[in-house]
Symmetry: C2
DNA sequence: TAATATATGCTCATATAGAGCATAAATAGC
DNA sequence: GCTATTTATGCTCTATATGAGCATATATTA
């Protein structure tokens, strides 16, 4: 009936926009109350490239114009979907990141913008260290580390926790995917329990939490508070966030999310929303202007409170002047 | 006979090693004198994950032990292979990077280590600016830019050249994939002409070189001097080089390529071989030691000339101490 | 008119990166 | 044994980048 080697390929898109200082992702609601990323099958007969395929069905599904598109990662986990356990079929999913300017979604389109941090609450440090970390995540991870088989295993797990969730004085905000993967493995996300239920009998090395404490761990996964997501969509979202956080430092991605003219504070708010950290305003201005990323339009903003701000536009010449123009998020921020 | 959506998935591996200050890649010789990267089909029935599939057939093919493995990118170009133009079949190829310590290859194994820069001669700046750049590449790119349709197109092309191949005083050595793609598009690589010959009639927007000058451009592609490679393997190699150059800055990848004990000069030579730039010895030592990436073993090197060097080992604790431990290649080096 | 909010200019301390000088400890050639 | 050569290693000096905060300007709101 089908070749043993062939697989179906789905494209799953993380379409991001920022409006009013809130980083948003396009999500569709499906059954079971789970939020899903928009996704579609890659049809080799119809589309010349993966990129074109993605743009085609995004347009068909949402009528949204997406500017920047970038491939993230190809996921091929066996336990990705329950159906795969029964049939011999196989499904690969290629994650994509897309950046769009804020656009109203047409009526009748089954998609909505959602705050990214409703899915990844522990990733938003703009208001200081997220409370859920100390209230639920770190204690559960510490317990997970202690549950390792032997001393070496405990040291290894403690090391992984320190590397992804930070040490006493520093954290790497970029490592969103590694934090997701650690939490999934430790059972701190609802989908870990959903997936584990499917493979309970089959030995799965993916889940390393203590099976005797599974009820307690499941309760923690609910306290952590991320909205429920379909299949591995939270993983794909985390990898998109990691990519965008890394890339804004050396490519001028943020301007894909801003109108043609903007104030420096608007620019800063977009960077903060994506990177999840609050920035020092004066230093941010100094950096942006030193890098010559923007130029004044000559106009001033009129609608806001306080002293009116000068409007700027992106200076595309910077692309050919300097090898790695980005917005300079501090690599390592204090806890 | 087959579902319209299904595709075959191949895994293509860039296995790197460094020996004697030379960065090498595992290559197999196939017909037509073209060098090929080792590759195999992904068999969903046999392998639980993409990663395991890759490790399985690498081991079967070469009996090599590969330590670090990382997915690069999934390529789905229509013109990847001549056969795809005739049949409706479709082939996706997922590129992987693997790092191995230098190992002798078993007799009878149809694979050899080759200097990476034999395939990408313009990427090695250790001995100063590569001669082929000014002799062949930059003049041909300049001509390509002038051949654009209008002034805006010329400005755009000049901008792309500056961004990828650098400006008067700086170049980003990391952008190996973008340099490949620009050269491919401009017809400066032999495979561009091989692929273009297949799609001549079908309008292809991938090749933007002046078709009236195709013979001259083809000659340049031979002067550029990269060894011929199968299909899109040079693209995958370029993306592996880009990944490794980027990642050594913030992850301790290099130690995957070194023996357990090494001198600081050996470490430096590995970084230089991968990044393609020469480094200031004293500053490199200062950086490595300040980052506490290594610790002395207490032993000294005995075999070399000159004053004996202290032997060091990787200090894995650094992974849990600091969020982004890497070897600090200068981001931007002067031309 | 005072309080508040935002914009913008400037300084200062510290950390980091780039370049080079100086010295140490081995081998190679004679 | 003496000298040249080679590599290792310690140290300094300077320029630049980063992090933090002070001070002032110009608007709106109460």
């Amino acid at each position: 009936m089908r070749d043993t080697h062939t697989v179906d390929v789905g494209l799953t898109a993380v379409i991001m926009a920022v409006s009013g200082g809130v980083a948003k992702v396009l999500a569709v609601r499906e059954g079971a109350g789970e939020h899903a990323l928009p996704s579609g099958l890659f049809d080799p007969a119809q589309d010349r490239t993966l990129n074109l395929s993605l743009r085609r069905w995004i347009m068909e599904l949402t009528a949204l114009e997406v500017g920047y598109v970038e491939q993230l990662y190809t996921f091929g986990n066996q336990y990705r979907d329950a159906r795969e356990l029964d049939v011999g079929a196989r499904f690969l999913s290629i994650g994509y990141l897309g950046l769009a300017r804020e656009q109203r979604i047409g009526t009748g389109v089954p998609a909505e913008w959602h705050d990214i941090y409703d899915y990844l609450p522990w990733e938003d440090w703009r208001g200081g260290r997220p409370a859920v970390l100390d209230a639920h995540i770190m204690p559960a991870l510490a317990a997970w580390a202690e549950d390792a088989l032997d001393g070496a295993g405990r040291a290894l797990r403690r090391g992984r926790i320190a590397m992804t969730f930070g040490t006493a004085d520093a954290i790497d905000h970029e490592k969103a995917l590694q934090r997701f993967e650690l939490m999934y493995e430790a059972g701190l996300l609802p989908e870990a329990h959903r997936d584990y239920a499917l493979v309970r009998e089959k030995s799965s090395s993916v889940f390393s939490f203590n099976k005797n404490k599974i009820e307690d761990i499941y309760k923690v996964s609910l306290e952590v508070g991320g909205l429920p997501m379909k299949m591995d969509h939270r993983r794909i979202l985390a990898s998109a966030l990691e990519r965008v956080r890394g890339k804004i430092k050396y490519r001028p991605l943020v301007f894909e999310l801003l109108p043609a003219a903007f104030t420096l504070l608007q620019l800063q708010k977009v960077v903060e929303a994506l990177s999840g950290v609050a920035l020092h305003k004066q230093n941010f201005r100094r950096l942006i202007q030193a890098e010559r990323l923007v130029e004044e339009t000559g106009e001033m903003e009129t609608t806001a409170r306080g002293r009116p701000a000068a409007l700027f536009r992106f200076r595309p010449q910077v692309l050919s002047e300097r090898p790695a123009p980005g917005v300079g998020v501090p690599k390592i921020s204090t806890i």
